[in-house]
C-alpha cells in the first residue's frame, strides 16, 4: 500500500444549526483514484469545499502530504498542490482559453511586481516557458490548441468542462479534485473525459472524484466512499461497494444488485 496523500479525519460542518457534514473521514493515497458518491445533498461538494478551505470546519482535521492543512486560508491551498474543478463551471468567462489556463499555472511561477510591470529578465523567460508548457502538455492532452484565443464564454458546455479540468491540471497538482466532471454531458463527451482522466492518472496525479455517473465511477475508481446526510455509509473497492446492501438501498438502487 502506498503512502497516504490526503487524510480527512472526522470533520464536522454546520450551516446555522444545520449539520451539513457530521463526521466524515476519508483517505486518498499516492497515485490513487478515489471516488466520493452519495445522493444529492449528502455533503459531497461540502466535503471538497472543506478540503479547499472555502468552508471552515467546526471540528476534525485535514492532513495533506503529512502536513496539517486544517487552518489554511483558501488561497494557500493551491500552493500545497491541491487543485480542483468546479461543478458549476467557474471559469473566467471574459478571458481566452489560454489566459484561463495560464492563470491555473501561475501558482508555479514567482516574480516581483516590479519585474512583472517592466516585463524584463526572469519574467519574460518564465512567461515563454509557461506558454510552452501549456501548449505542449495541457493543450495537446485536451485537444484545446485550436481554441487557444477563443473567449471561454462563447464555447460549448462540454468544452468548458474540459477547460475547467485543464486549468486545474495546469497548476501541476499532486491531488486533483474533480467535482462532477461529466455532469450534463452526452455519452461521447463522457467517453472523452474518461479518457482524459485516465491520461491524468498516468502522470502520477492522485484524483478525488465526485460523480453521479456510476458506470464511470465503477470503471475507473480504485476505491469508493459512499456518504449520506453528511456521514460515511461505506467504503471499499467498486466490487465491495456495489455488494453493500446499505449502499444499494440508499443510492444505487436494485438494478446494481446483479
Amino acid at each position: 500500500m502506498s503512502e497516504t496523500l490526503l487524510k480527512v479525519e472526522n470533520i464536522h460542518l454546520t450551516f446555522g444549526g444545520l449539520k451539513a457534514i457530521d463526521g466524515i473521514s476519508l483517505d486518498v493515497c499516492n497515485d490513487e483514484l478515489v471516488s466520493l458518491i452519495g445522493p444529492n445533498g449528502a455533503g459531497k461538494t461540502s466535503t471538497i469545499n472543506c478540503i479547499c478551505k472555502f468552508y471552515d470546519i467546526d471540528s476534525g482535521q485535514i492532513f495533506f502530504n503529512g502536513e496539517n492543512i486544517t487552518r489554511l486560508k483558501p488561497h494557500q491551498v493551491a500552493r500545497h498542490r491541491i487543485s480542483r474543478s468546479f461543478q458549476n463551471l467557474d471559469l473566467f468567462k471574459g478571458m481566452t482559453v489560454l489566459e484561463n489556463i495560464k492563470l491555473g499555472a501561475h501558482i508555479n511561477i514567482r516574480s516581483g511586481i516590479l519585474s512583472d510591470l517592466l516585463y524584463y529578465g526572469k519574467t519574460r523567460k518564465e512567461e515563454r516557458e509557461l506558454e510552452d508548457f501549456i501548449v505542449e502538455k495541457i493543450f495537446s492532452l485536451f485537444g484545446l490548441s485550436k481554441y487557444r484565443n477563443k473567449h471561454v464564454g462563447s464555447l460549448p458546455y462540454g468544452l468548458q468542462k474540459k477547460i475547467d479540468i485543464a486549468r486545474a491540471l495546469a497548476a501541476r497538482p499532486k491531488l486533483l479534485i474533480l467535482d462532477e466532471p461529466v455532469a450534463g454531458m452526452n455519452s461521447d463527451e463522457t467517453k472523452e473525459i474518461t479518457e482524459d482522466i485516465q491520461k491524468i492518472r498516468e502522470a502520477d496525479i492522485s484524483i478525488l472524484l465526485i460523480e453521479h455517473d456510476m458506470d464511470l465511477v465503477m470503471n475507473i475508481s480504485d476505491r469508493i466512499y459512499v456518504i449520506n446526510f453528511g456521514e460515511n455509509i461505506a467504503d471499499g473497492t467498486p466490487q465491495e461497494v456495489t455488494a453493500n446492501s446499505d449502499v444499494i438501498n440508499i443510492y444505487l438502487g436494485k438494478s446494481f444488485e446483479n
Partner: protein, 292 residues
C-alpha cells in the same frame, strides 16, 4: 469655434475617462461603487501640490513621490475599511464611500483651508495653433497624458501577470482563490491604481483650473461617464469620458448663450437619464441575465 470646443471637449473628456477608469477598476474588482472618487481626485491634487511645493527637488523626483503616496492612500483605504466590508449590503458600502468622501474633504479643509491655490505649472509650456485656432497647451498635455496612461493600463491588464490576476479576481473570485490568488491583495492593488489615476486626473484638472475644494465635484460629473460606459467596462469608461466631455463642451458653447452658464454640467445628466432609460446597463456594461 466648433473645432476649439471640440478639442477642449476631447481634452476634458480624456481626463474624465482617466478618473472613470479608477471607478470601473474598483467596481470590477470588488463590486464597490466608489462615490469617493471625486474626493480622491481632490486629495491627490493637494498631496501633489504639497509635495511639489514642499520638497526642494526637481519634478521627476517629487511627482513619483506624490504618486506613491496616492497609491499608499488607496491601499490604506482598502485595508482598513473595505477589507471588512465583503458581503455587506451594497447601499451600506455606498454610504461608506460617501463617508470617506466627507472625511477627505474635511481633512483637506482642516489642513489647507478653503483658499484657491494656483497649481505650479508642471506640464511643459507649449503653444499650439491649428489653422489659425489657438489651442491651450494644458488641453494638449492632458490629452497626451491621459492617452498614454490609458494605453499603459490596457497593456498592463492584457499582458502582465498581475494584470491577468486582477482580471481573474474581477471575473470570478471563487475560481481565482482556488488557483492560489489572494483576492484581497488584488483588490488593494485596484484601489492603489484607482487613487493613482485619480491623482493624475486631479493634477491635470488643477492645471487647467485652480486647486481648491471644488475639485471633488468632479466625482459627480464623472458618474454619468461611468454609467454611460457601463460600470464594469474599461473601454466604456474611455468612450463615455469622450462623449460626455465633448457634449458638455459643445453645449457650453452653443446652448450656453441661450440658456445661461453651467448648462454643460446639466447636459451630461440629461444624457445619463436618456441612456439609462434606453440601456439600463450602459453602452458596454454586462447585462444580468436570468435563466429560467
Amino acid at each position: 469655434m466648433f473645432i476649439q470646443a471640440l478639442i477642449a471637449g476631447i481634452a476634458v473628456g480624456s481626463v474624465y475617462a482617466l478618473i472613470a477608469l479608477g471607478m470601473v477598476l474598483i467596481y470590477k474588482a470588488s463590486s464597490v461603487i466608489n462615490f469617493s472618487q471625486g474626493a480622491l481626485v481632490m486629495i491627490g491634487a493637494y498631496i501633489t501640490y504639497a509635495v511639489v511645493t514642499g520638497i526642494p527637488a526637481p519634478l521627476w523626483i517629487t511627482i513619483p513621490i506624490a504618486i506613491v503616496l496616492s497609491a499608499l492612500l488607496g491601499v490604506v483605504i482598502e485595508r482598513l475599511i473595505f477589507r471588512y466590508m465583503t458581503g455587506v449590503d451594497l447601499i451600506a458600502v455606498i454610504m461608506v464611500t460617501l463617508g470617506i468622501s466627507f472625511l477627505l474633504e474635511g481633512s483637506t479643509t482642516a489642513i489647507w483651508g478653503t483658499l484657491n491655490y494656483s497649481f505650479p505649472k508642471i506640464l511643459p509650456e507649449m503653444s499650439f495653433s491649428l489653422g489659425g485656432i489657438h489651442i491651450s497647451e494644458v488641453y494638449i498635455w492632458s490629452f497626451i497624458f491621459s492617452m498614454v496612461i490609458l494605453v499603459m493600463f490596457t497593456l498592463f491588464f492584457k499582458y502582465s501577470k498581475i494584470g491577468l490576476r486582477m482580471r481573474a479576481v474581477a471575473d470570478n473570485q471563487k475560481a481565482s482563490i482556488s488557483l492560489g490568488i489572494h483576492p484581497g491583495k488584488m483588490i488593494s492593488l485596484s484601489w492603489a491604481i484607482s487613487c493613482v489615476v485619480a491623482t493624475i486626473g486631479g493634477v491635470m484638472l488643477a492645471n487647467i483650473k485652480l486647486l481648491n475644494l471644488g475639485l471633488s465635484g468632479i466625482g459627480i460629473l464623472v458618474f454619468p461617464v461611468v454609467i454611460l460606459g457601463g460600470l464594469d467596462s474599461i473601454i466604456g469608461a474611455v468612450l463615455g469620458g469622450f462623449i460626455i466631455g465633448i457634449l458638455g463642451s459643445l453645449s457650453a458653447v452653443y446652448a450656453g448663450g441661450l440658456m445661461g452658464g453651467a448648462v454643460d454640467q446639466v447636459v451630461s445628466f440629461v444624457i445619463l437619464l436618456i441612456i439609462l432609460l434606453v440601456k439600463p446597463y450602459g453602452l458596454f456594461g454586462t447585462k444580468e441575465t436570468l435563466r429560467l
